[in-house]
């Protein structure tokens, strides 16, 4: 009798090396310990303090007055200006940054242009506060270099209504760190657009415009949304640049918080905490909106 030529399946479980447990040794957790420590010390604890403090008056007693004061027209106005400036610079910086990133990735510009732009963006996206304000004052201030030069050739910016110390002047200054941030975050996404997608679309009869509308932009939407919320948050929380540039002339919510917490005239720490809590709420709303938009736009991604 011939033996059965079909051998028994190999017991792979026995031979295979044991899988690592989901929660491996304490050494792995040690690596991320600084992260959790930072989160706890500089996010969780301050947020907790902020929440508690916003329900306290100057003597430490429980009160809802701080939140009631948020309804003051000047405070609501400050929120509105801050949101507007954040939206304007997020969209403006986002658009400008996207076009620049497009030019150096999909656009076929020489390689050195890409390197130059990315290097500049890396520096400029972190260039904010007093140095940035000073840089803009010396170039676009009333006696700034560019302002004077333009005046010499017959273009008086300030006569035409421009002011560096206005809403649009501050927005322009914010754009200096907003668009580089967009360049840095959207470039990898643009690099991820595969050449074959564009070629396949063209091959099927699509124009470049149709390819962008129907293929490329839907693919990029999650990345664009993510970057826009980052830009919004970046501008929403900006303080030093605005304070240095306008000296409080523009009533931003961050400047208001600063004056409530450390100011001599408007000192009311509880209100400052409530204002900050309001900012958290605004960011929360934006994040929620972002979450739903992103879920809608990336339903085709691997879960």
């Amino acid at each position: 009798m011939s033996s059965n030529s079909f051998s028994k399946p190999v017991d792979t479980k026995r031979d295979a090396p044991k899988a690592r447990p989901a929660l491996s040794g304490w050494r792995d957790w040690l690596g991320v310990a600084p992260f959790f420590l930072f989160v706890f010390l500089f996010i969780v604890l301050p947020s907790f303090r902020l929440l508690i403090g916003s329900f306290q008056d100057v003597d430490g007693n429980f009160t809802l007055k701080n939140f009631a004061d948020l309804m003051d027209p000047s405070i609501l106005g400050a929120y509105w200006v801050t949101i507007r400036i954040s939206l304007a610079t997020a969209f403006g910086g986002g658009l400008l940054g996207f076009l620049m990133a497009y030019a150096v990735t999909v656009g076929g510009l020489p390689r050195w242009v890409r390197s130059a732009l990315l290097t500049f963006s890396g520096v400029a996206s972190n260039f904010a506060g007093v140095p940035l304000a000073f840089a803009f004052i010396t170039t676009l201030g009333r006696v700034g270099m560019v302002t004077v030069f333009l005046k010499l050739i017959g273009v008086d910016l300030y006569d035409k209504g421009f002011s560096l110390y206005s809403f649009w002047g501050l927005s322009l200054t914010y754009m200096y760190f907003q668009f580089p941030l967009m360049v840095l975050t959207i470039t990898p996404a643009l690099d991820g657009l595969r050449r074959e997608w564009r070629e396949a679309a063209e091959n099927l009869g699509a124009t470049p415009f149709e390819y962008w509308v129907k293929v490329a932009l839907p693919i990029l939407t999650p990345s664009i949304l993510g970057t826009m919320i980052l830009l919004f948050g970046n501008a929403f929380g900006a303080y030093a640049t605005a304070l240095s540039l306008t000296g409080g002339f523009i009533n931003l919510i961050t400047i208001l918080i600063g004056s409530q917490i450390k100011g001599d005239v408007l000192h009311n720490v509880g209100l400052g905490y409530a204002l900050a809590f309001g900012m958290v709420v605004v960011m929360g709303v934006m994040m929620t909106l972002y979450y739903f938009l992103r879920r809608r736009s990336e339903r085709w991604l691997k879960q």
Binding site: E199, A201, N203, W300
Partner: protein, 352 residues
Amino acid sequence: MSFLSISNVSKIFGGVVAVEDFNLEIEKGEFVSFLGPSGCGKTTTLRMVAGFELPTSGEVVLDGENITYKSPNQRNVGMVFQSYALFPNMTVAQNIGFGLQVRKTPAEEIRKTVDEMLGLIHLEKHAEKYPFQLSGGQQQRVALARALAINPRVLLLDEPLSALDAKIRVELRQEIRRIQQTMGITTIYVTHDQEEALSLSDRIVVMSQGHMEQVGTPSEIYNHPTTEFVASFVGQLNLLPVTEVNVQNGTCKLNGQLVRFDHSEQSEQRQISAKPRLAIRPEEFQFGQAEARNVVLGRVEVVMFLGAVVRLRVRIGEALVSVDLFNERTMILPRVGDDVTVNFPAHACWIM
């Protein structure tokens, strides 16, 4: 006049010649493969037909229309990419219908065509899935359906199976041939896999270093290669050093033994090199004495049992020769070190 004519086409990339003087006439409904190693110019040629590359010189005429400088979206040729290139943000049905949608085809017609295409590729139940939910083979079927949905004048396939595993590759290539024959669509298929080219094509263009080496039917390419490159790239080829070559009589000496070879095509197509070698395929050998065949002596050095085929390496003089034998249940295999007599027919070998 042929349906697709590629005339005197060359392509130079920054001083590097990718394709040189490519000439090919393709009939309507024909399946032609471009076969060659990486960097031989086959994909560049295909991309020039698709419109993704402009020829440095020459022209491409499709159905009487010069399309050399037409943009890819105006050529109405379908292309299937190696990496599938399915749009990840669209379902299978949306991918297949994309070409019709951008052509502003009525929705009802798009739906009908998509259903037809899904039936053709047997993926009716996957219409609403996204590409990431499909296997590689399924994705490539969808890519094929998407290219066919626009009813292209020519179908171009750029190594469509090379990213798939062996079993799926064989299944899918039969599927591609079936669909191509069903639709009667003129097809150019780029591959570096000789088995794919041989099994699928009406004609094969073998390419090397930007040149066309040979154009012919699979049988012509395999059995009557005109260059050493074709002979060695398509299938396995033994090249044995020989002396005293007499082309007129078709004789030479192999390891001191007289051998006859096929000299009918020798003068017309094949050039004999300074160091002549006898070319013969491994499957042409048999063991033992045989009348009217060349008979030489050798020693077995390697025996590999591959199932349907037994592959041996036999030393004949200085040369180590591959010998393929079809397996039979009763076959008694020689052992390593055995002295053997091998024979092969004169018509199966030639001088290079």
